[in-house]
Subunit: 138 residues, 2 copies
């Protein structure tokens, strides 16, 4: 795995770890501060701007503990100082599919956008095969 991909996936994992810990300080650090950010929580309309995005995490995690979200099968694609990660989010028996977009700011990969949404059990046949082969290869 290229070193950049490892750094991107580490930043991605930090996001889910911080979410599960309800660690708002780390979540604030993980989101970009030099680039405008946006976020689409499952079923929500888009939030634009660092203030609204961070406010949403404070609202979701304000009780002191977040739902346990496990990031499954993340795949990173880097292009220059940008990258996106596609992964599943496992919450109890529910699987969501998510996109996390990153930008490199001052040498560190920062979240600039997040979208998560539901995934039905119906999968294109080609993708079902791909999931199996990816699982075997990783």
């Amino acid at each position: 795995m290229p070193p950049d991909d490892a750094e991107i996936l580490a930043a991605n994992q930090s996001f889910y770890d911080a979410f599960t810990r309800a660690d708002l300080e780390t979540i604030e650090e993980l989101w970009a501060s030099l680039t405008p950010v946006a976020c689409i929580h499952p079923g929500w309309d888009a939030l634009h701007g660092r203030d609204d995005v961070l406010e949403s995490f404070r609202a979701i995690l304000g009780g002191g503990s977040g739902p346990r979200v496990t990031c499954v099968d993340p795949a990173a694609t880097r292009f220059g100082d940008a990258a996106f990660v596609v992964c599943h989010e496992a919450i109890d028996d529910t699987r969501l599919v998510a996109t996390n977009v990153f930008v490199r700011e001052d040498g560190r990969w920062k979240l600039v956008h997040h979208q998560a949404g539901p995934m039905s059990s119906r999968r294109p046949a080609t993708r079902a095969r791909k999931v199996v082969s990816r699982g075997m290869m990783n």
Copy 2:
């Protein structure tokens, strides 16, 4: 509007126009060919790679006409040679919320990732205000 933002939004609009026309040739041109791509259709698992992504559009649009998808309220964020657009997709009475990620290849903005998912009518109050103010400003 900065010239780059106009170019990004034009590429974004071309995607929806081509989808509605079932114009597979233009859709193929719009997707990046030098950067690995991915796509998450509403409710589907993620598709990875140009072959699977383009095959999915051929399957969806193969009948010769696609559903009429209108892109509403697109907002572009550029960072270097990358950008993302957040917008709504109006299909009859249904509203989806979507992310389109772009990369600049050979001077042209190309799609590198797409995710669309459902949006409930429940909106965070702060966002409802933001939508109104954005509508007045644009």
